[in-house]
């Protein structure tokens, strides 16, 4: 008994053998599996026993097991049972313990029965990992056992997890990225020239106003709401005053004129100065601004631009000295100007970090290096996004924009069509509903999808010789909350699992038993499988006929960040979750068009389906999917899977694409992953580029279910100051899918402040044609989910002049709306009002050239008709699989026609983008959680647009605080403070 136990405790991750071979040749596929219900640990400690006639030395070895009671994914509360043995003085002894422990707090308290003393003692335990990943990088902790009632006797020692080979390996060891590595101190240039210094002073002043204009800070705190809002008002008034004298664009042009002047003075030659300024801008952009901004949302160490600046200065110095443009005697003054420019930008970085109270939120305006004409076309903005985010906008993709229920259907279709492998990478796969029953949507995916498909493929195995390999990547948080262990245990071992599940109806149990029986019969009947199992073992067979479950980001108390010393006053990485939601299959380097992927904002489960939930997905086929294998590989590596354990389908390989793209595959797509925790966050960067650079006259629409990021709100306010028309939509309290008080208070603060900002900036916005509209999605369904939406749209557009001005095609849509309003759906017999939840994370962007051409397209009525028909199809739950692709196909075709007209009218100056993905507009999404987003350009953006046009019909646009207070509850002061403390995590 002891030897097998020891072997299990000390086993390495996975089984070393059979890893390099494909499954069909006897190889095993490695997976993380599910978190254990009971976790073992061992410890060694020594200390003093002071209760007695004399002080005694004490040494003990401990073996314990713990079981989570509350919040397993963050280690909120667990029960621990332990035994120990050792010496007190010269006497051997031992005992048992039972404790309540909070891994989150790093503390526990309980009873210690000492067999030698024959009594129970109070025990208090403190544990800390000392360093990220714990002692030895394997989750070990410093452990203090304290007996406060026994004259403060104690032991100090180490503890170590047992049987958890990935402990200490599931998060990055560094929480901060080093901005400035070691660098030699450059020799500063010294120039005495009062005229030059005056110009540089002017340049610095202008740079500060550019910073405040591009990302105005709106999140001022104070001892109460009124004082905080007064501070914000004062700051905005200063900005408004400045902008009334010099517009945002004029400020940027002034800055660059001063830069040209400074270099011209330094070079004593106007033309040479201009060329030097151009070179300086290019190097500033590529060596300093873009690399630094690429760290948006990440913690930073040695946060200074000096090292980046040295690279820029070095290259600039080389150009100055070697180009022959700068007169020989003027090299030093020219380099002095560049030095001053870089120092100024570094000062502004520091000021922004101080103002936002967080270096993660520093965004250096690219306007320091770009003139307005440098970022007003699709090609220019594309290039900047690609450079900043480090990703390509891949051409030749096919895209379908999916509404609501179609995600469920497409996921089923994907699972059933999979030939080689399929990955479901999701944050929620619920087993039970709030009412205690089995979640029918998950049941459908498990039974109709995975198990039925496995059974069918096994039945054909003797002739085909192939079986698909299924993977599920599911974050531990909702896995625990929604009792997903029920599904995962079934899928991990369908050959022996029981068909009796908690909460299942008789019909469900019967159906499950039937499909499990079918699968097992198929396995038993397969001569090839049975022959292979005899060769490769029954373990191989179980590994072959299963879904490979990977519960990711399992609780690991050895990872903390932000602590003063070790984990003291820190917060655990366990708070950071993988919020990515996507699925893909058969993506292959050989043929980029073989597989497809769905990117979505929703999870599996019935709560996401039906008319009470607004969510969108994107189905993609094409070369942009190739990154997914890398992301899956990196996820598994980050979770402690060793490279040699990596499932073959995810391993890196190079191949020349063989497949021909379908004729329709023309979409340009960039897939961006914010990795979980302290890793790269390119999705933030791409958004910030678009918010901060779209030129005057552009339109930006940003609805979101968790609109809490004051930083993004600041960028969008800055956009409106440039003359961009910005429409921000958040859910009203009744329509919020995540309506916890910290989230809603931050949403209230954001809405309140934007309403105030809009009023204070009114004249400035009017002058440049900008708009800053904040609205709340406040839809109330009384009769029919579809027709009520249509009627709300009719009423809203008829009564909202700015919408009709912005979208002059709206009038032409009224007949279509009347047609749709007369076609209720199948569940029109609804009882009582319902409040659909706004959960979709779709954003739309167009510059003036594109927008002006879009809004006059004559196809709008037909476009809206197709859209409404499709929405009606995907709004009502039937529980049955449907092929609804004709809707997205028609929408895509229409969008291509319309966009061809846009290009014909506006030419290459037209720029349009759309984002679809999982990231919310909150700090949690920016700083902590894993997120995925797809950036589209071109025709496909129009499908997102028609969707958002319809969504805006359910929005109450905010002009006054009373409406904000009515639709979002005004918080009490204590709640406001609590929400502000928790703002990074909500």
């Amino acid at each position: 008994m002891a030897i097998p136990l020891l072997g299990w405790l000390l086993q390495p991750a996975g089984v070393a053998a059979q890893r390099g071979r494909p499954p069909e040749h006897g190889g095993l596929t490695e997976s993380i599996g599910q978190p254990p219900r009971w976790r073992w640990s061992g410890g060694l400690g020594a200390g003093g026993w002071f209760e007695g006639p004399q002080n005694e030395f004490m040494a003990r070895a401990e073996l314990g097991v713990q079981h989570d009671l509350l919040g397993p994914s963050i280690g909120l509360l667990s029960v621990v049972f332990e035994g120990y043995a050792g010496y007190r003085g010269s006497d051997p002894g031992g005992g048992f313990r039972a404790m309540l422990r909070s891994g989150y707090m790093g503390a526990g308290v309980g009873a210690d029965y000492d067999t030698e003393l024959g009594r129970v003692n109070l025990l208090v335990r403190l544990e800390t990992p000392v360093q990220r990943g714990g002692l030895f990088g394997s989750g070990g902790m410093i452990r203090v056992n304290w007996y406060p009632m026994e004259t403060h006797s104690f032991t100090l020692g180490l503890s170590h997890p047992l049987g958890q080979p990935r402990a200490g390996k599931t998060r990055p060891l560094e929480e901060k990225i080093v901005v400035a590595l070691e660098f030699p101190a450059p020799i500063p240039y010294q120039v005495r020239d009062p005229a030059l210094d005056a110009v540089l002073d002017s340049l610095r002043g202008s740079a500060e106003w550019i910073r405040r204009t591009v990302v105005p800070f709106l999140d001022q705190d104070a001892r109460d709401t009124r004082t905080a809002e007064a501070r914000m008002a004062a700051s905005v008034d200063e900005l408004a005053s400045r902008l009334s004298r010099r517009s945002a664009e004029e400020e940027v042009r002034w800055f660059h004129a001063q830069l040209d002047l400074a270099f011209s003075l330094a070079a004593a030659d106007i033309e040479a100065g201009r060329r030097a300024a151009a070179e300086a801008r290019a190097l500033l952009l590529h060596e300093v601004l873009l690399p630094y901004n690429g760290l948006l949302g990440r913690k930073k160490r040695k946060d200074t631009l000096v090292e980046l600046g040295i690279a820029a200065r070095g290259r600039f110095g080389r150009w100055v000295a070697g180009s022959g443009v700068i007169p020989h005697g003027r090299v030093e003054p020219v380099l002095y100007v560049y030095q001053a420019l870089l120092e100024s930008v570094n000062e502004l970085r520091g000021r922004a970090a101080k103002e936002w109270d967080d270096p993660r939120l520093v965004w250096l305006p690219l306007q320091y290096a770009l003139l307005p004409e440098d970022h007003d076309t699709q090609a220019e903005i594309d290039a900047l996004i690609e450079r900043a985010a480090g990703q390509r906008l891949a051409a030749g993709n096919q895209v379908w924009y999916l509404a609501n229920l179609q995600f469920h259907w497409e996921l089923l279709r994907m699972i059933r069509e999979t030939k080689d492998y399929h990955v479901l990478w999701i944050h929620d796969f619920p087993a039970v509903t709030a009412a205690g029953g089995l979640d029918w949507a998950s049941f459908s995916q498990v039974v109709d999808g995975y198990l039925t498909t496995l059974a069918e493929r096994v039945e054909r195995y003797d002739s085909t010789g192939s079986l698909p390999t299924y993977f599920i990547f599911l974050d531990q948080h909702y896995y625990e909350v929604r009792k997903s262990r029920i599904w995962m245990s079934l899928l991990e071992d369908p050959l022996t699992a029981s068909s009796t599940l908690p909460g299942a109806t008789l019909e469900q149990t019967t159906k499950l038993a039937a499909v499990l029986g079918r699968l097992r019969r198929a396995v038993d009947s397969s001569r090839v499988l049975q022959a292979e199992a005899r060769q490769y073992s029954s373990a191989w067979l179980r590994n072959r006929i299963k879904v490979h479950v990977n519960i990711t980001y399992q609780a690991d108390p050895s990872f903390w960040g932000g602590g003063l010393v070790s984990s003291l006053f820190g917060y655990p990485d366990n708070l950071m979750r993988d919020h990515r939601k996507l699925a893909f299959h058969d993506v292959s380097e050989d043929d980029p068009y073989r597989g497809t992927a769905i990117y979505t904002g929703m999870g599996v489960g019935e709560q996401y389906l039906g008319s009470s939930w607004e969510d969108r997905s994107l189905l993609v086929r094409g070369p942009s999917l190739l990154d997914l294998k890398r992301e899956a590989r990196d996820l598994l590596l980050s979770q402690g899977i060793a490279p040699e354990e990596m499932p073959l389908v995810f391993r890196e390989r190079t191949a020349s694409p063989q497949g021909n793209p379908p004729v329709e595959a023309k979409a340009r797509v960039m897939t961006l992953h914010n990795r979980t925790g302290y890793e790269a966050k390119p999705l933030n960067v791409a958004k910030a580029i678009l918010y901060s650079l779209l030129p005057p006259g552009s339109v930006i629409k940003v609805p979101d279910s968790l609109w809490n990021s004051m930083f993004f709100a600041g960028l969008l306010t800055g956009a409106s100051c440039r003359g961009v028309r910005v429409l921000i939509v958040a859910p009203a309290l009744a329509n919020a899918p995540s309506a916890g008080f910290p989230q809603m208070i931050r949403a209230w603060e954001l809405a309140s402040r934007l309403v105030a900002v809009r009023a204070r900036l009114g004249p400035v916005l009017a002058r440049v044609g900008g708009q800053l509209r904040i609205g709340l999605y406040a839809l109330e369904i009384h009769d029919d989910a579809f027709t009520d939406r249509v009627k709300a749209w009719q009423t809203s557009f008829a009564g909202t002049p700015f919408l009709r001005d912005l979208m002059p095609f709206a009038e032409s849509l009224m007949p279509v709306a009347r047609w749709a309003a007369a076609r209720p759906g199948p569940d029109s017999a609804m009882v009582g009002p319902s409040y659909p939840k706004l959960h979709q994370k779709v954003q739309f962007f167009a510059n003036r050239a594109a927008w002006d051409a879009m809004v006059v397209a004559p196809e709008w009525p037909e476009f809206m008709r197709i859209y409404l028909a499709y929405r009606r199809t995907t709004l009502y739950v039937t529980g049955e699989y449907r092929d609804a692709r004709s809707g997205p196909d028609q929408l895509e075709a229409m969008a291509r026609r319309m966009y061809a007209r846009v290009l014909a009218t506006a030419g290459p100056r037209a720029a349009a983008y759309a984002f679809v993905g999982s990231q919310n507009q909150d700090y949690r999404g920016m700083f902590m959680d894993g997120e995925v987003g797809v950036l589209l350009t071109g025709p496909e953006t129009l499908v997102a647009l028609v969707d958002l046009v319809f969504l805006e019909g359910a929005v109450v646009w905010l002009d006054d605080q009373a409406t904000v207070d009515r639709l979002l509850r005004r918080p009490g002061e204590w709640e406001r403070r609590l929400a502000r403390i928790a703002k990074d995590a909500v």
Binding site: A222, E355, W356, D357, G562, G570, R980
Partner: protein, 192 residues
């Protein structure tokens, strides 16, 4: 001292920072009266950090002059003087209620009790002073009023100190009232 006061005044008068999350740093004086014989009138210093204006993390030092009593002796009466010094950490939660802030918490720390015994009418007899350090827990409630740049905080506390082993027993537990006058400074958040 004068320079330090000037710095404090200048800092208090400076325009507030307008960051995204502010706490307070508070420096001030504290004075009060405890009913126990070892306490009575007292005065001292108080310092606190209030992250997010939610959690109150402070420290105080208070010298209590205590009380003097006379007890009969064999040869002559004894004058017994008992006094104390409190050094404690103040932990609490701060709740805004209208225009005032309520802080509910407790002081955790030590009290240095001292007792001096002097035999009266016997000049050559040296006085004897004994001392004892005892653990202190003192639940408290305080209300902070804003008065210009200052905060004024009356506080009620119930001291539960350990029992000092003195020749003459004097009371060392019970209610106490304090008044704090502090200068608050807004500070950025401590952790990022």
């Amino acid at each position: 001292m004068k320079a330090a006061m000037l710095v404090c005044v200048a800092a208090a008068a400076a325009p507030s920072a307008a960051r995204a999350q502010l706490g307070e740093l508070q420096f001030g004086i504290i004075g009060g009266y405890g009913s126990a014989e070892s306490y009575r009138g007292g005065a001292g210093l108080s310092i606190a950090v209030v992250p997010g204006r939610i959690a109150y993390l402070g420290a105080r030092y208070v010298y209590h002059w205590g009380s003097t009593t006379t007890i009969p002796g064999n040869a002559a009466d004894f004058e017994i003087r008992s006094w104390s010094e409190t050094v404690s950490a103040d932990l609490g939660l701060q709740f805004p209620i209208g225009r005032v802030e309520l802080v509910i918490g407790a002081s955790l720390g030590s009290v240095r009790f001292q007792q001096n015994r002097l035999q009266l009418l016997v000049p050559e007899t040296p006085s004897e002073t004994t001392e004892a350090w005892e653990f202190l827990v003192a639940p408290s409630v305080a209300v902070y009023f804003r008065a210009g740049r200052l905060l004024i905080a009356p506080e009620f506390q119930w001291g539960l100190a350990g029992d000092p082993d003195f020749p003459v027993h004097v009371s060392h537990r019970g209610p106490a009232f304090y008044l704090r006058v502090v200068v608050p400074f807004e500070i950025d958040r401590i952790r990022q």
